[in-house]
């Protein structure tokens, strides 16, 4: 292969990352934000979103694509938080309580999700997406109708005035930033939420460690080739369910961390775009449906949120309307998912063509070998 061709390949393989770096470089000067300002915001947002994005990794290893079904875990986390607020458990204890409530729920939901995906092999992503819509209905029923009516709710302040159902916006003052503030370190002009970072670091260690276990190896095998893994005696379906369950549980914790940082919760919408933004982030970081790493996750969070942070202001300064930037944010989010999926399909096809070239060359050389031997005889 020629050097030019190789360069083209590298560019094409990293098209999304390069595009984002370019856009950010252009937008930053127009936004008028100082570097210090931007960095502080990035530190905050890394703490807020990392856990959610990392939750996507295991299903990708298991060959199940981007787990849009992680929204189910987010719902479980929110139910945990509602309980914590209702019971008046403040601070980090509230978060632990929410996690304790959310864990069994998200294991159950993840198991359902995995079982459904096992019946829709090859279409896991769209299945997860639609499943999240369906579960949204169940969540609404639970929170809007049964809480306060069937499930006892003690504090009337979080209920709608009609007496049952949770308010549209839930004030999370009790647990606000309780993880972030647990160990806030001041380095120069920057505030670093060390405790949150520690939790994320523990998760990273877990993922690295998990990949070294037998289960992790099986998951990789299943991800690479389902049929071969099955014929080698690896319990394929069970392995896939475990991957989704772990992902769902991590998404539950991720949503709790996300919401404690935000400080309030849109009861019926907060989970809507959890999966969507996490998926967009990991794709921006250069991951694909089949391949992702810790680096992809962190790079993606940084680039996507840099864009999200500077683009509304840049839009306002350039066009006199922040809505342009807001529009841009949505556009870019969906655009990047579509672009990544298209690029992935294109790459798969390109590799098939490349493999075919090899076959063609082999074929003709094999033939000439045979011919030579024939002549020798």
């Amino acid at each position: 292969m020629s050097g030019k061709n190789k360069l083209g390949r590298v560019l094409a393989d990293n098209a999304v990352v390069i595009l984002f770096i370019l856009l950010s470089v252009i937008a930053i000067p127009f936004s008028g934000f100082s570097v210090q300002n931007i960095l502080q915001e990035m530190f905050t947002r890394l703490g807020r979103n990392s856990f959610l994005v990392l939750a996507l990794l295991l299903p990708i290893y298991a060959g199940m694509g981007l787990n849009f079904g992680m929204t189910l875990g987010a719902m479980a986390g929110q139910i945990g938080l509602i309980m914590a607020i209702d019971w008046g458990i403040a601070g980090w204890r509230g978060l632990v309580f929410a996690a304790l409530v959310g864990t069994p729920l998200s294991i159950l939901l993840g198991w359902i999700c995995g079982a459904v995906m096992n019946r829709a092999k090859g279409r896991e992503m769209v299945t997860g997406y639609i499943l999240a819509f369906f579960m949204n209905g169940v969540y609404m029923f639970l929170v809007l109708f049964t809480m306060g009516a069937v499930i006892p709710v003690r504090s009337a302040t979080i209920l709608l005035t009609r007496g049952y159902g949770i308010r549209n916006t839930l004030n999370l003052d009790l647990v606000r930033a309780s993880l972030d503030k647990l160990l806030m370190l001041r380095i120069g002009p920057f505030f670093i939420p060390v405790a949150t970072y520690l939790v994320i670091a523990v998760l990273c260690v877990f993922i690295v460690w998990f990949k070294k276990t037998k289960l992790g190896q099986d998951m990789r095998a299943v991800g690479h080739d389902l049929v071969v893994a099955d014929s080698a005696g690896i319990p394929v379906e069970r392995t896939r369910i475990i991957a989704v369950v772990i992902s769902t549980v991590l998404a539950c914790y991720g949503q709790i961390i996300f919401l404690q940082n935000m400080g309030n919760m849109a009861t019926y919408n907060a989970h809507d775009q959890t999966g969507f933004f996490a998926v967009a982030a990991i794709l921006v970081g250069g991951a694909s449906v089949k391949k992702a790493s810790l680096l992809n996750a962190f790079l993606g969070i940084f680039l996507l949120h840099l864009m999200f942070y500077v683009s509304p202001r840049a839009g306002q300064n350039l066009f006199g309307s922040a809505m342009i930037g807001e529009y841009f944010r949505q556009f870019v989010g969906y655009g990047v998912i579509a672009l990544s999926l298209v690029l992935y399909a294109w790459k798969t096809r390109r590799d098939a063509v490349f493999a075919r070239e090899v076959l063609k060359n082999n074929g003709s050389s094999g033939h000439s070998d045979a011919a030579k031997e024939g002549a020798a005889k």
Binding site: K214, D225, R356, G363, A370, G374
Partner: protein, 535 residues
């Protein structure tokens, strides 16, 4: 070696699938350290026999088998391939079951990894143990050495030459401590000659270490050189079982194919006067999974019935599918002096090619539609026939003309149905095939490609379908290219027959040529013949 008790003894095994007998009273023994060469044509029963040995679920689902299999002194009846593995029987498949993104070591030890326990085992079970990478590598290297080949334990499968992948697969089987019998199904099919030589040497190594081997291959000279004993299966019966020293390639080839040595229609087919060259294929390659075509050259004369035969997986099906643009391919196809486009099904239909696919229910028919639709569909799409103009603006379907056409073909081909509006899926296999033919005939093609025209239809219908093809050829002078696995069928109606082996033409023979000549070509025995056929 030198023990009298056989490791594996297959005793009077018979098997039928719903009355269709595929194995009949097959018996043979394998001693420890012996290599058995198992040969036979497609459909001779090799695969079924191996499925029985491995306890594949498909056997019990279809009513089990008769006879006895004794392995290592015990009568066995495995209920799944994993039981067979546990007992010490390993299988290396024709298609690779390797994970291409994994290294040699990871593949050799797939689901058999070395593990280091840790505290989480107590709670979550063995799957939470760490992998012991260094021990895994040692075990892999040991298996590779036992095989007697050079393999890099850290190389990814996707970066390996194909021969090394085959060795990796074998290494995986012999890595198991208990392995006593190894079954290799066409292990050399994808290897170059030098790679195959290394493989045969390492098989002899393994046999010398006391591992018995069943070697299934269509390359007879390899079977002959490696096997101690040759077992020939034909039509479900073990027709020969003798030491390899006592037979020649030519003997085996004729035992494999030799049914009745006469063919009724020879006289009629021979010596027809044919016009000039009409259709030519040069250096055709086609990427059809499982039927890869590498480099095919042949010419067909006007009005000829040209047969293409060969064993399954050698690429004969890929030729017609590639020419019709159904799978990506390249090379040159010259038709009537002009180059025909590849990879564009519509274009080739427009210049007068028609195709009867081997995938009758998938590509050939619109199963849920009426016979009218099925027969008229392609010609309506390509030739704008059976359409009428309405208000000179829009073209609508001409149902009356479609019905007339269908009734015509129902009568002509003697299709058994309730009428033109019956659904295609309700017909029997033979009648469905006639519908496919009628669809192709309705195109009034200049050249007709027919793929496996008699697959899956009963004997009576077979004859009707073949007669229809001959009649059509004689009456309209249509050039026909037939691809078929059934040699007898090709010999009964073709003017010339090309045998495909490993993706290229092994040789072109007259239908009257002796059967063992065909057998030799299919077995890749005549390397030098390839040259002659390209000229």
């Amino acid at each position: 070696m030198g023990q009298d008790s056989p490791l594996l003894s297959i005793q009077h095994v018979s098997k039928d699938f719903y009355g269709n007998v595929v194995l009949q009273d097959v018996s043979f023994d394998i001693k420890p350290g012996e290599i058995i060469g198992l040969v036979g044509e497609n459909g001779a029963g090799k695969t079924t026999l191996m499925r029985i040995l491995f306890g594949m679920p498909v056997i019990t689902e279809t009513g089990g088998y008769q006879g006895k299999i004794v392995f290592d002194g015990h009568e066995t009846n495995f209920s799944s391939p994993f039981d067979a593995l546990d007992a010490g029987i390993g299988m290396v498949h024709q298609e690779f079951s390797l994970i291409s993104g994994f290294t040699t070591t990871e593949n050799i030890l797939l689901n058999n990894e070395s593990m280091k326990p840790n505290f989480l085992n107590e709670v979550f079970g063995d799957r939470m143990s760490f992998l012991d990478r260094s021990d895994m590598k040692q075990r892999a290297v040991k298996a590779i050495q036992k095989l007697g080949v050079k393999l890099n334990p850290d190389m990814l499968i996707s970066e390996m030459p194909i021969g090394h992948r085959q060795f990796t697969e074998i290494a995986r089987e012999i890595n198991r401590e208990k392995i006593k019998l190894l079954v290799l199904d066409e292990p050399t099919a994808v290897l170059t000659e030098s790679e195959a030589e290394v493989l045969l040497t390492s098989l002899r190594n393994l046999a010398a270490k006391g591992i018995s081997i069943i070697f299934i291959s269509h390359r007879l000279q390899e079977v002959l050189s490696v096997a101690d004993t040759i077992v020939v299966l034909r039509d479900g019966k073990a027709v020969k079982n003798l030491p390899s020293k006592e037979c020649s390639i030519r003997d085996i080839a004729s035992w494999m194919v030799g049914r009745s040595m006469t063919s009724e229609s020879d006289a009629e087919v021979a010596n027809r006067k044919l016009a000039d060259e009409y259709f030519r294929v040069e250096h055709l390659w086609v990427d059809m999974p499982g039927e890869t075509v590498k480099d095919v050259n042949f010419t067909v004369n006007k009005g000829e019935i040209f047969g293409i035969g060969g064993l399954a997986g050698q690429g004969k099906l890929g030729i017609s599918n590639g020419i019709m643009g159904l799978y990506p391919g390249g090379g040159k196809v010259i038709f009537d002096g002009k180059e025909a486009p590849l990879n564009d099904p519509r274009k080739v239909l427009e210049i007068g090619f028609a195709f009867v696919s081997e995938d009758r229910r998938g590509v050939g028919l619109l199963l849920d539609e009426s016979l009218e639709w099925n027969i008229a569909f392609t010609s309506m799409q390509i030739k704008n026939s059976h359409l009428k103009k309405m208000l000179k603006l829009v073209k609508i379907r001409d149902d009356a003309s479609m019905r007339k056409l269908t009734e015509e073909y129902i009568k002509l081909l003697d299709i058994k149905c309730t009428g033109p509006s019956q659904k295609a899926k309700e017909l029997s296999g033979g009648n469905q095939q006639k519908i496919c033919l009628a669809k192709a005939f309705a195109m009034k093609p200049s050249i007709l490609f027919v793929s496996e025209p008699t697959r899956g239809i009963d004997v009576g219908a077979k004859k009707l379908v073949l007669d229809t093809l001959i009649r059509y050829n004689r009456e309209y002078g249509t050039t026909i290219v037939i691809v078929s696995s059934e040699l007898e069928e090709l010999r009964s109606l073709c003017d010339r027959i090309a045998i495909i082996d490993e993706g290229s033409v092994a040789g072109i023979l007259e239908p009257t040529a002796p059967l063992e000549e065909f057998g030799m070509l299919m077995s890749g025995a005549f390397e030098s013949n390839k040259e002659a056929s390209h000229a």
